[in-house]
Symmetry: C5
Subunit: 354 residues, 5 copies
Amino acid sequence: MPRFIRKTHKKAGTSPGTLVHIGEKKQDQTRISLMDYDADRLAEAQPQDIATVFPLKDLPTTTWINVDGVHDIGVIGKLGHHFMIHPLTLEDTVNTSQRPKLEEFDAYLYVVLKMLDYDREHEKIRSEQVSLLVGPNFLISFQEQEGDVFNAVRERIRKGRGRIRQGGSDYLAYALIDCVVDHYFLVLEQLGERIESLESRLYENTGPDLLHDIFRLKQEMIYLRKQIWPLRETLSRFLKLESPLVKEANRVFFADVYDHLIQGIEVIESLRDVLSGLQDLHISITGHHMNEIMKVLTIIATIFIPITFVAGIYGMNFEVMPELKWRWGYVAVWGFFGAITAGMLVYFRRRKWL
Amino acid sequence: MPRFIRKTHKKAGTSPGTLVHIGEKKQDQTRISLMDYDADRLAEAQPQDIATVFPLKDLPTTTWINVDGVHDIGVIGKLGHHFMIHPLTLEDTVNTSQRPKLEEFDAYLYVVLKMLDYDREHEKIRSEQVSLLVGPNFLISFQEQEGDVFNAVRERIRKGRGRIRQGGSDYLAYALIDCVVDHYFLVLEQLGERIESLESRLYENTGPDLLHDIFRLKQEMIYLRKQIWPLRETLSRFLKLESPLVKEANRVFFADVYDHLIQGIEVIESLRDVLSGLQDLHISITGHHMNEIMKVLTIIATIFIPITFVAGIYGMNFEVMPELKWRWGYVAVWGFFGAITAGMLVYFRRRKWL
Amino acid sequence: MPRFIRKTHKKAGTSPGTLVHIGEKKQDQTRISLMDYDADRLAEAQPQDIATVFPLKDLPTTTWINVDGVHDIGVIGKLGHHFMIHPLTLEDTVNTSQRPKLEEFDAYLYVVLKMLDYDREHEKIRSEQVSLLVGPNFLISFQEQEGDVFNAVRERIRKGRGRIRQGGSDYLAYALIDCVVDHYFLVLEQLGERIESLESRLYENTGPDLLHDIFRLKQEMIYLRKQIWPLRETLSRFLKLESPLVKEANRVFFADVYDHLIQGIEVIESLRDVLSGLQDLHISITGHHMNEIMKVLTIIATIFIPITFVAGIYGMNFEVMPELKWRWGYVAVWGFFGAITAGMLVYFRRRKWL
Amino acid sequence: MPRFIRKTHKKAGTSPGTLVHIGEKKQDQTRISLMDYDADRLAEAQPQDIATVFPLKDLPTTTWINVDGVHDIGVIGKLGHHFMIHPLTLEDTVNTSQRPKLEEFDAYLYVVLKMLDYDREHEKIRSEQVSLLVGPNFLISFQEQEGDVFNAVRERIRKGRGRIRQGGSDYLAYALIDCVVDHYFLVLEQLGERIESLESRLYENTGPDLLHDIFRLKQEMIYLRKQIWPLRETLSRFLKLESPLVKEANRVFFADVYDHLIQGIEVIESLRDVLSGLQDLHISITGHHMNEIMKVLTIIATIFIPITFVAGIYGMNFEVMPELKWRWGYVAVWGFFGAITAGMLVYFRRRKWL
Amino acid sequence: MPRFIRKTHKKAGTSPGTLVHIGEKKQDQTRISLMDYDADRLAEAQPQDIATVFPLKDLPTTTWINVDGVHDIGVIGKLGHHFMIHPLTLEDTVNTSQRPKLEEFDAYLYVVLKMLDYDREHEKIRSEQVSLLVGPNFLISFQEQEGDVFNAVRERIRKGRGRIRQGGSDYLAYALIDCVVDHYFLVLEQLGERIESLESRLYENTGPDLLHDIFRLKQEMIYLRKQIWPLRETLSRFLKLESPLVKEANRVFFADVYDHLIQGIEVIESLRDVLSGLQDLHISITGHHMNEIMKVLTIIATIFIPITFVAGIYGMNFEVMPELKWRWGYVAVWGFFGAITAGMLVYFRRRKWL
């Protein structure tokens, strides 16, 4: 459960805008990487000192500053100061338990999203917060740790393919969000495979392991939904945004990524339905097994209990038991056993138990 | 599950607008068929070279270009170039995992729908993506493979019956969408028949086969809903469209097909409710069977266990067991057996077990 | 299930506006009955030839043409031609699988409703489509067969009671719709009675008959809801209609019938809730019965199995079994039997099984 | 069920506006009570003849006419005639199966509500229809029978406390509605107590009585919800009313009673959730009991069945059974019995059945 | 249940605006604490006499009057009189069973919220009503008892950190609401821990204690939701408020706390889903256990019942039983026992019961 209610806020009651890193510290050092480009030119760097990026702010080129690791309050504070970021924005950036959201300021747009990853080993979805600060000619992205899905975008910038070099910072924002959303489908595919394997196991084994796996998967679906769902509203607001920071021509791209997201959400809902179906199926199969077991027991017991009783009778030691003296007594008893058994079998056949 | 999360997007991170065919390649060659008509005239052709259709674009006649097979990037790229199609539209056309949607561009409307088919042999719904590009005097339709439900429309064009020859490209779009939606009802009818047959099997056999069939049908319903539901919004937007591409007089037809679709969706919801009811019924019947089995076992056991015990007593070999010497001991024991049995039967009758 | 997905449309792909009767042919001949009235005057007729009604169209009196049987394409086509009805309207009229709806044309309003009837013998709801064409001074009603709930309206027209003779065609439309909606409550009452009788049977008998009846009733509720629900939207649109065909003063009546309908829908929802409750109750009662049966079995078995074992011991034929020689051995064994039985009874009493 | 679908309407098809009393006749005579007041003056009366109240209509004082018993069509017809009430309003007043609603006429507002009462003896909610006709300086209230919750309001008028003497007829309407809504909470409290007592019974007894009580309470909740829910919309419309009949200054009071109602509805929803929880709990407890019973049976049976078999072996009468002759055979058998029992106990302990 | 339907209103029928304290009297004396500050200055006091705070109302400084204990009608009446509070507001303040809400008056905003606390000992959520009266330069907060979560805010005021000293009364309101909402997460964390511990217990023990705990937690979730949910609407209205009492610059803070609240509500929904999942899991595990128990019983019984019968046969005392005389009879019987046992084991292995 801790994933559902991570320590979400500043220590209750502290002043808003106070920079306190909240969340797991996932790497040691904050690393900055920089891409500065326009249609013709591209400069890349990994500056040690954040101050070296400040002059780029006023150039007409598009500047992408990527910050890995948000626990270093100093670096982020300086960035925030120079780029004139609202204190609440900075606070949300270092607090890695935000909901996906879009906030519109005069000087920039602030977008929070969740990058998801399926950890096959622990069978858990891992979530990492990504914040994007989209200014008129710069974009600052914050991630909790190195290693991301943005390399494809970097490659496209380097190769200058497509619109990306001319698109400006809003197009870059689209490209990054699109990467994150596309990545959700990888997670969904892996969950889908797990569900499929559950289904095939269901007919062989209905033990607690399987139950536990269904339960775990359901929780992953709940978690996934909680992470993705609010992004829908966020992107929908993007489409209606009347900010000069998003160029008219780029709106169609945001509509496209919105569409992908809706598709992802529909897949989640379908998988949830399938999981519910699996659980119902499990309950039904368990009930059916129980019936089968009971039938076996009942057939054996109802055949043998009466005839064992008869055998018991002739094991009694009464002095006067005329049947015991009869010539064909023993044979008659066997006949009786056979008759009862046959009768019972007919009865079970009629009830369709056999 | 793979049907629910087909590889839906371009390799995550590639540039939008890149033409990459995504989906199963369902036939070898892309085939083009062409109908060019107005109220008086009709020309049909199946050109090998896509370039032969380009001159038709500027004629006042209505031109319907149907493309079977969307894996041939070259053909589609050329078409797109000549008809000035937006790159995102082309990308969506060759990626066969789109949601049904309507996109409005200045020069054309872009509609994506799913053509559904029930494969009786595998008891699965098959889905094929159909894209329509509706321009002022042309309509380009893309299908994944040959063989479609559009022959009826072709016949109507050939015979010049009804409004179709005068209706223009928007009326043609309506006719095609109407065909697709009408076809959904065939799928629904077949699912309905399967459900009906399940119901009659339910009283005879409650084994895992039946359970599996219910589960499978539920999944088909989930899949069907996922394919059809978004079309509702698509068609509803058609009704509100303020595009010159849809003539006022034709709007009533789109309202009509919207109405059919709503009816189809209501049928899906009703069938889902019926399926849930079947599953509840199955669980109840299983519980009832269990009770019946238990009753048989309990009646037999509670009658014979006590009397077998009595028989056991007189099978003991104690030297001092006065009853064994009694003249009427054996008879008395039989009387005792009868009394216990009768008592039990009365008891069960009172509890309404017999 | 066939009721849920009746062959709903024209043969997929035929031209819209083609008159093809779809549905069961419920009577042999199409019959027309005619009422023409104003505040002072009333003329009734049952013309054989549809053409005789045409002159009435241009008189200022209110003309009600009722057509029983919609399979005679000829008659309906002529009517449509003379009254200038849109081809789609005619098509919907002869296709008896429409959803309830309201369509607004310049010259008339077109209303489709479902008349429902509970067939006690087959325990099924029967549905009949009624279409109303409301013009400025005429109303044409189409029914699938003779015998309807409109006789009360006819009586009111004949007796000239209330507003009906002055109300015009829109008031007549209200009166007819009100009749149909009022009739829904009769169906609901009969379903309500069936549910009530189910409830009382539930405590006596929990067999498959009862289950089947619950399931059937649930399906009737699903069907009923599907037939009535869309009418809500239809009537709600009536209230907002800005057509000169509905007089301001008559709006309050449509609000009234809307209100009745909402009440009916609420009753359906309540009955569905009650039915679900009944099914839950059934499952709980089944579980309780099972427990009761198991208790009886367990009590008998746990008392007698141990003592039967003891009896079995002293039935062994070992040569050295000192107890068998004891003077009070047999008595002691009986004491032992009593002690075990008493102990078990105490144990069961403690567990509240007795 | 009859409560859910009371004969709700005029005999289907009768003319709207016909005065026909529908519902149970709950008292013999219609009784009228009258309060006429302004800030300084108060007159009370219980006139036998309805005509005596007519002159009050034109006085500037606030007149409250309360009518107990709505079956006397004559009295109500006369009132309606003098106060110029719309025929549909009168019809709704004498038909006691209306939904709560607000209707706005030029001369008055018409409000229908349900007064609820919990009949502890029959454990049923009783509902009584209250209609309010709010004119500019008069208010007519109709109840089905004497005895109401309005005495507190009468006391406030008599004592002249608070705003009531200056508030006018709309404030009086508020005061009456507030009384009715406050009374709902008494009903809810009693249902709440019943649920609480169910909860405590659940751990002792899971028999059909309890099940029946849960089922009954669920139905009462469904009924309650059906009675109260539509009032929400009614009061919400009050807040948005642009009628001169509701003074601006009094709006805040209607907002207040709306708020109370919402709270009541939330309580209903919570209680429904709690009841569902109780039923789930019941099913789980039943399942747990079953397991416990089965464990006892299984433990006893699996211990004694094998050893009884062994005892049976040495009860056989074969001539050649060497063990029977052994010196320590009998003792060995006892050892064997002990070993099996111990082994079984260890096994059960491991499975956590003991 | 009493928590769900606390005596919510004034004695039904009393005049609105009458000050009657409703709720538990949680402390003996009403205590007032006072903070009066602007950017430069801060005065704190705990006046005995409420009259000493009145002069502060007209100073430009921000005045925060906190009242602990709302049962002293006298004090609150005086405050209300001096600060010109609407009687309904005062009534709501002393009635501690309000829903969270926002009311807008010309002179002040009135906010009601619920402060929640998880009582670990009784495993119950405790709720305390907090009312805020936000005037142009003063804020009056009412709590039911001393001891609150506002100390952090007091500290910030004292230390003059952040915006709080310059923010005015609306910022102070934000700070207080933020404290309350942040506190909800502490409650959620504790509930989350309880759920987590339930999950781990589920595999060991499925007894009624666990069931009861699940049921209790579900009720706490229902209660929590009921307390928090209406706040959503309240805060959402804050964002849209066009009152001069909320400064434009402070709106972003209210948006922030709204966001936190939504996150809290999402956590509640997720936890409810997880709890449902736990209950489903419990039912499935119970069913699985039952199957396991039944299997053990059935295996033992079906092996030993037949062979016990055979032993019974040869315990019969018929004079003519040739097998008894056979040399190898006894050995043959043992062989027979072995064969049956082996056959049964093979059968069970095939059915995957072993």
